[in-house]
Every structure is written in structure tokens, then in C-alpha cells.
């Protein structure tokens, strides 16, 4: 089982859209896939039309003995499941802090379902917190959507700097997203930074992506031929190749 986190310190960069769409491509490619919505906003949960509630709230979620499986909901798509967000996720840090070995907690929770899934994607809240530290411990790689703007790139630097302090940092896969090549700023910043470990696939800005909120479906389900959809497919293929995963 490979665990990825869609993570960025900055909000509004397309983490949820990426988690939702990459999850869809993973499942469509034959992997048993789980999206775990850790963001209190619960946007991924909303997109997949699942009710944002967990048995026993996020406090119950952290109970290792009972495992993660009881929180799983099937989505409308074959092989794709989801652990919904819960409003109480905003207190996740607090609940985590009360646990023994809080940093290892998510990893050990994920171990309870390792035989059920090939790929797990965590949709994370934008923060550096106890929860995100536990996420860094649990994942094989961070997938970092980055808009080609100074603030977004700065956030990526901050993440990298923070990871350097860890003993065993996860791999980082940044990629450009919401790209508008008509803008000089986007063009210049991509040119200046593209050799800093960014994946080759760049997700273009598209208002159709924003429609995910009104349609409550992943992009490939309603716009399979859209350029952005194709790029998500390529992005997922690129990640699979880097991770040595075969569909």
C-alpha cells in the first residue's frame, strides 16, 4: 500500500481538486484506492456526495483498536472509497496530542487497512501542525500542488525547509497547478523554478475544474476530454512511474 498526501502550507492551491481527481484515476487504473479527507472543510467529502460525519467524530477515528475500516464509505466509482471529513476534524491536533506516540498514530491507523488498499491519498488541511507532522510520518510521498505565484512558491520552500529537519522525510512531488500561460508572471516563474524538482505535468487553470463544486463529481466523470483532465491523468502516470507502481 502506497500512501500519498496532497499537502501544501498554503490554502486554495488545488489540493482537494487534485486528491479527488488523482484518486479517480488511481481507481480507474485498477488500484484499490482510498481518499482520506483530513481537512475540516470536507470539500473532498462534498465532491463525492458523502455525508461529512464519522462514527464517534475524529476522536473515535483515532482509536487504533477499532481500525479505520469502519469509517470507510464507498464512492460512486468502482474501487474508490473515502473516509469522510467530520466537523470535529478541526480539533484533530488536540485529540492527537492526548495520544501516546501522536506522531506515529496515523501511520499505525493506516496499517489497519493496508491489505484493503493499494493506494491511499490524504487530503490535508493547509497548516504545519501536529497533524501534519503525523502525516509526514505516515506517507511515502507528499504531492504538493503549487500555483506559479511568489506566495505559493514560498510556501513550498517552507515545507521543504521543514522536512529537512526530519530524520526520514517523505519524497516531495511538487507540480504546477492552476497555470495560466497567458500571464507573464506564471510563465516567468515556471521558467525560473521548473528545474527544482517539479513534475512535468502542469494542470492548466480551467473554470470547468471549479464546476466540480456544483456538479459534485470528479472532473473525469463530466469532462473527460478537457485538457485539465488529461493533465491529471498524465500527472498520476508520472507519480506512478516515479514510485515504481504498475497499474
Amino acid at each position: 500500500m502506497k500512501v500519498f498526501a496532497l499537502y501544501n502550507l498554503k490554502g486554495g492551491v488545488g489540493k482537494t481538486a487534485s486528491a479527488v481527481n488523482l484518486g479517480w484515476f488511481s481507481a480507474a487504473g485498477g488500484f484499490r484506492t482510498l481518499i482520506w479527507d483530513l481537512d475540516p472543510q470536507g470539500a473532498a467529502t462534498f465532491y463525492y456526495r458523502v455525508r461529512p460525519e464519522l462514527r464517534g467524530g475524529s476522536k473515535g477515528l483515532l482509536r487504533r483498536k477499532r481500525g479505520l475500516a469502519r469509517h470507510v464509505r464507498a464512492t460512486d466509482y468502482e474501487r474508490l472509497d473515502l473516509i469522510p471529513a467530520d466537523p470535529s476534524n478541526r480539533h484533530l491536533d488536540l485529540f492527537l496530542a492526548r495520544k501516546r506516540r501522536p506522531l506515529a498514530r496515523l501511520r499505525r491507523l493506516l496499517a489497519t487497512i493496508r491489505k484493503d488498499y493499494d493506494v491511499v491519498l490524504l487530503d490535508c488541511a493547509p497548516a504545519i501542525s501536529l497533524t501534519s507532522e503525523a502525516i509526514f510520518d505516515a506517507v511515502d510521498a507528499l504531492i504538493v500542488p503549487t500555483i506559479p505565484t511568489p506566495l505559493s512558491l514560498r510556501a513550498l520552500d517552507q515545507v521543504r525547509e521543514h522536512l529537512r529537519e526530519l530524520k526520514q522525510p517523505p519524497t516531495v512531488y511538487p507540480f504546477f497547478c492552476m497555470v495560466d500561460m497567458r500571464r507573464t508572471l506564471h510563465r516567468d516563474l515556471i521558467l525560473a523554478h521548473q528545474n527544482e524538482g517539479f513534475l512535468a505535468s502542469r494542470v492548466p487553470y480551467s473554470s470547468r475544474v471549479e464546476q466540480m463544486g456544483t456538479r459534485r463529481e470528479p472532473l473525469p466523470a463530466y469532462a473527460p476530454n478537457l485538457a485539465a483532465t488529461q493533465v491529471y491523468a498524465e500527472l498520476w502516470a508520472e507519480i506512478l512511474e516515479r514510485e515504481g507502481l504498475m497499474p
Binding site: 488500484f31 464509505r73 464507498a74 474501487r79 484493503d116 504498475m246
Partner: protein, 501 residues
């Protein structure tokens, strides 16, 4: 949950669901599918189905397990699990199939129609498959049979309560009844076939008071049946398990004839004893080479480049021996044996035909088992596992005989009496069996090395590798010998001895 319906119209289903929320129907074009399983129904027994269909030039293989559905696009229809590319499909199929070949068991023409039952958020909470189906046996050019319409309710993870409510509503409809059979069961039923027919395990029903002569004939008849069903696959070399099961049946037959000779007429049995020994000897070399090939196939990654010449040489030998064996299984001698043996087994036993033929089987078997066990204890206690090789081999043969006796007649004893001795004996036998395989391979490798050298086809790396392999086999042998004493102690323990007495 399956529902069979007399009038399977989609409209009837939709109207039955209409008061519980909205629905959406997906229709897909007709496709032809092939269902696969191994000869011994390994997938079926694991509640799993492998279904393949063509998509352009590729083959889409779907593995439907109780945990969900796995799909992979392949360049060819799957035959052995080991031929599949590394994938979740391979990970799931490999452990179930092991070395067994996949064989088509049925074909279906499917017009998929899926009804999604939605909640207020428009989220699917259950799916109902209302496919139109036709089925045919796997052989080509046979007629298609229309399958009785059915609805299959597929619950979604986390939405069990919803599925249950829908199930109850459907079950209340007129002309609808629940059916617990799997789809494959229903399809095979339509063409007059049945899944799960063959299993390599030995099972025969015997009554405790049955005269021993009749009981032993029943055991032998079951073994004969196993030989016959594995014969075609053995000759065609479909996979190594056919020959394995065939040989096990022959060996068990020989063992049964020998062990239970007091229950059968000796004069009629004598010629069969020689014939079955012959059958054992002509199938032995192929089996040894099968084991060797499988062992090398397992080491493919670890041996990488040097593996190729070695495995090719052994495979060539295997094919040669296989051809020789297949030819012998087509001879008059073999055909004659089958005919005479079948006649012997079919004839009714004559009262008093042998010393113990009329004793109740429960007594005759118990006495035989106790005697064999005592003999193994005496033999095993005397030997030194670090040095003895022939004695260990003889002990293994004795162990096999005891194991067979326990298996033949387990039905006449309470399960709690037979279970623990079989388990303890199995551990001991696995240990001794591995030692035997290690000895055989260590003897074969230097010979192979000499042949490779004469052929001049192998690089120096190959010989280095063979040297390393020999070292590793010797290391493993030491470990296996060390394990022997613990396994034997358990087998000889008072707990086991009490059960056998």
C-alpha cells in the same frame, strides 16, 4: 444478495424502487466474457471469480473477490499467475492459484444494465445489476442458452443498512425469490454443469461397522476416480498438479493395497501390485523435474541473468521425460491395467475372501494405524538426524503410509482423535520431505554443471551461481536436520500416542 425473477423486466425493478428515492440506469453494449478457474476450482472455493473480455486487441481481466473488484488490461488471456505482470491482480491471483493453470469454465454474453439507487444527495447507496445474460460451455461452436432474468443487489461499503432495506423491499415483490448462489453457479446450472467438482483432498464416506473388504474397496475406488480425472491433464502436461495428484493417487493405492492386504483377496491382488509399482516408476522422473523447474522459476528474480541457461536445460529434460511418460500412458499395458482394476473394484466382495475382510473397518483400521505408529516411534527414536540420511528417508516413507491410513479412514473415527496426529505427522513429513528435496537437488546440480560445461552454453557466472546455490542448499539442509528432533518429539509425545492407542 441475488434475486431470481420470473418476469425480469427492468421497469418492474424501477417501479419497485420508485418510492424509496431516485434511480439512475447505466446501459453498456453487449460483450462476451469467459470465466476462468483452475481444475480444482481454487478461485471458486475462495468465493472469487476471474472473468476476461476482449477490448480491442487487449484482454481485460476482472477479478471479483468478496473484498471488491480488481481489473487489469493484459496482452493475452491469462494462463498461469506467474505470467502476469506485477500488479494488484497478480498479487491477488498468485497465492490462490500457485502453479495451477487457468482453464475456461464457461462463456457468457452480457448486456450490462446497472441500476444505481440514489439518496437525497444524489449519492449511490446501492447498485443492482440487472444484466441480460446468455451462457455457453467454454468449448467453441456450442449453442447459447438464455439465462433466467435476475437482479443482483450489490451493497456499497458503509451503506449496508440501505442495501438491506432495498433487499427486503425486493424480496416482498411477487414472482421474486432470493437466491444465494453466485452468478457463476447460476450460469453453470443453466448449462447443466456444476462448480467445485474436483478437489485434490481425499474424502470418502465410510460407516464404522462396514466390513473392511468393502470399505477398502470404496477407498480404492475413490483413488481410482482421482487417477482417471487427472489422466488427460497429466498426458497433456497442462500443469504439474495433474501429474502430482495422479501420482499421489497411485501411491495411495499402492499403500492401501499393502497396508490393508489382510482385507483383500491376495491372489487377485498380486498382479496389480506390480502394475501400480510400474506406474509409480514411469511417472517419477517427470515429477522430480517438475519440482526442479518450479523451484527455479521461483528464483527467477534472485538469479537474474544466470538463471536462463540452467532453467532451459532443466525444462528440456522435463519435456523429454514428459513425452516418454505420456507415451507410456497410452500403451496397452496401462489401458489393460485400468480395465482390470476397474472390474476388480466393481465386483462385490465375497464373504470370507480374506482373513480380515469381514471385520468392521473401525477395528481393522485402528489396529493397523496403532501398529504403524509404534513402528515409526521405534525407528525414529534410534536415528541420529545429523548423520542418518537413508534412515530418515525410510522413516519418511513409513510416515507417508501412516498418514495415508489416517486419511483413508478418518471418517470412522471422531475428528478430535484423528486431527492432532495428522497435524503432528504433517509437520514431521514436511520436514523430512524438504530434506529429501534438498538431497535430490544437491545430487543433481553438479551433474547439470558438467553438462552445461560440455555444451559450452553457460558463462562463468552460471557456475559461480551453481556453487553458491549448492552452498545455500547445504546450509538449508543443516537447518532442516536440526528441526527434525523437535518435530519428532511432538509426534512421539504422550498426547499424540494416547489418541492413537
Amino acid at each position: 444478495m441475488n434475486f431470481v425473477v420470473a418476469e425480469g423486466s427492468l421497469d418492474a425493478l424501477l417501479s419497485a424502487l420508485s418510492d424509496g428515492g431516485s434511480t439512475r440506469v447505466d446501459r453498456e453494449p453487449c460483450r462476451t466474457e469467459t470465466f476462468y478457474d483452475s481444475f480444482d476450482w481454487r478461485l471458486y472455493r475462495k468465493n472469487t471469480q476471474l472473468v476476461c473480455r476482449r477490448r480491442r486487441r487487449a484482454v481485460v481481466a476482472s477479478l471479483i473477490t468478496p473484498q471488491g473488484r480488481l481489473e487489469a488490461e493484459l496482452n493475452f488471456a491469462p494462463v498461469f499467475a506467474r505470467d502476469l505482470p506485477p500488479s494488484p491482480l497478480f498479487d491477488a491471483l498468485g497465492p490462490i492459484l500457485s502453479v495451477r493453470r487457468l482453464m475456461p469454465v464457461a462463456r457468457a454474453r452480457r448486456r450490462p444494465r446497472t441500476v444505481h439507487v440514489l439518496n437525497e444527495d444524489g449519492k449511490t447507496v446501492a447498485r443492482i445489476q440487472a444484466d441480460r445474460l446468455e451462457v455457453a460451455p467454454p468449448e467453441r461452436r456450442v449453442k447459447w442458452t438464455t439465462v433466467k432474468p435476475s437482479w443482483v443487489l450489490r451493497p456499497l461499503r458503509g451503506y449496508d443498512a440501505e442495501a438491506e432495506a432495498i433487499g427486503e423491499r425486493l424480496a416482498r415483490l411477487p414472482d421474486v425469490r432470493r437466491d444465494s448462489r453466485s452468478e457463476l453457479d447460476r450460469l453453470l446450472g443453466e448449462i447443466g454443469r456444476e462448480a467445485g467438482g474436483y478437489s485434490s483432498g481425499f474424502r470418502v464416506a465410510l460407516e464404522r461397522q462396514l466390513p473392511a473388504g468393502a470399505a477398502v474397496r470404496r477407498v480404492l475406488a475413490t483413488l481410482f476416480e482421482t487417477m482417471r480425472v487427472n489422466e488427460a491433464g497429466t498426458i497433456a502436461d497442462l500443469d504439474p498438479e495433474f501429474l502430482h495428484d495422479f501420482r499421489v493417487a497411485v501411491r495411495r493405492t499402492r499403500s492401501c493395497i499393502g497396508q490393508m492386504r489382510a482385507t483383500l483377496p491376495e491372489d487377485r491382488l498380486k498382479p496389480f501390485r506390480e502394475d501400480f509399482a510400474w506406474l509409480g516408476s514411469i511417472t517419477g522422473p517427470t515429477r522430480d523435474l517438475d519440482v526442479f523447474v518450479l523451484d527455479l522459476l521461483d528464483r527467477r528474480t534472485e538469479l537474474a541473468a544466470v538463471w536462463e541457461p540452467l532453467v532451459r536445460l532443466v525444462q528440456r529434460d522435463q519435456r523429454r521425460e514428459q513425452r516418454k511418460m505420456a507415451a507410456r500412458l497410452r500403451t496397452e499395458r496401462y489401458r489393460g491395467l485400468l480395465a482390470r482394476w476397474s472390474a476388480f473394484l466393481a465386483a462385490d466382495p465375497v464373504v470370507g475372501e480374506a482373513a480380515e475382510s469381514d471385520r468392521p473397518i473401525v477395528e481393522a483400521a485402528a489396529e493397523r494405524i496403532a501398529r504403524k505408529y509404534a513402528r515409526m516411534l521405534t525407528r525414529g527414536a534410534k536415528l541420529d538426524a545429523w548423520r542418518a540420511t537413508d534412515a530418515l528417508h525410510r522413516l519418511r516413507i513409513e510416515g507417508k503410509k501412516l498418514r495415508y491410513l489416517l486419511e483413508f479412514f478418518r471418517g470412522v473415527f471422531p475428528a478430535e482423535t484423528v486431527g492432532p496426529p495428522i497435524a503432528a505427522l504433517k509437520r514431521l513429513q514436511d520436514n523430512l520431505g524438504e530434506l529429501n528435496d534438498l538431497r535430490v537437488q544437491q545430487a543433481a546440480l553438479p551433474q547439470l554443471a558438467r553438462r552445461l560445461e560440455t555444451d559450452g552454453r553457460a558463462s562463468a557466472d552460471t557456475f559461480v551461481f551453481i556453487g553458491r546455490l549448492l552452498e545455500r542448499l547445504a546450509g538449508r539442509e543443516r537447518l532442516v536436520r536440526r528441526e527434525f528432533s523437535g518435530n519428532f518429539k511432538l509426534f512421539a509425545s504422550d498426547d499424540i500416542a494416547r489418541l492413537i492407542r
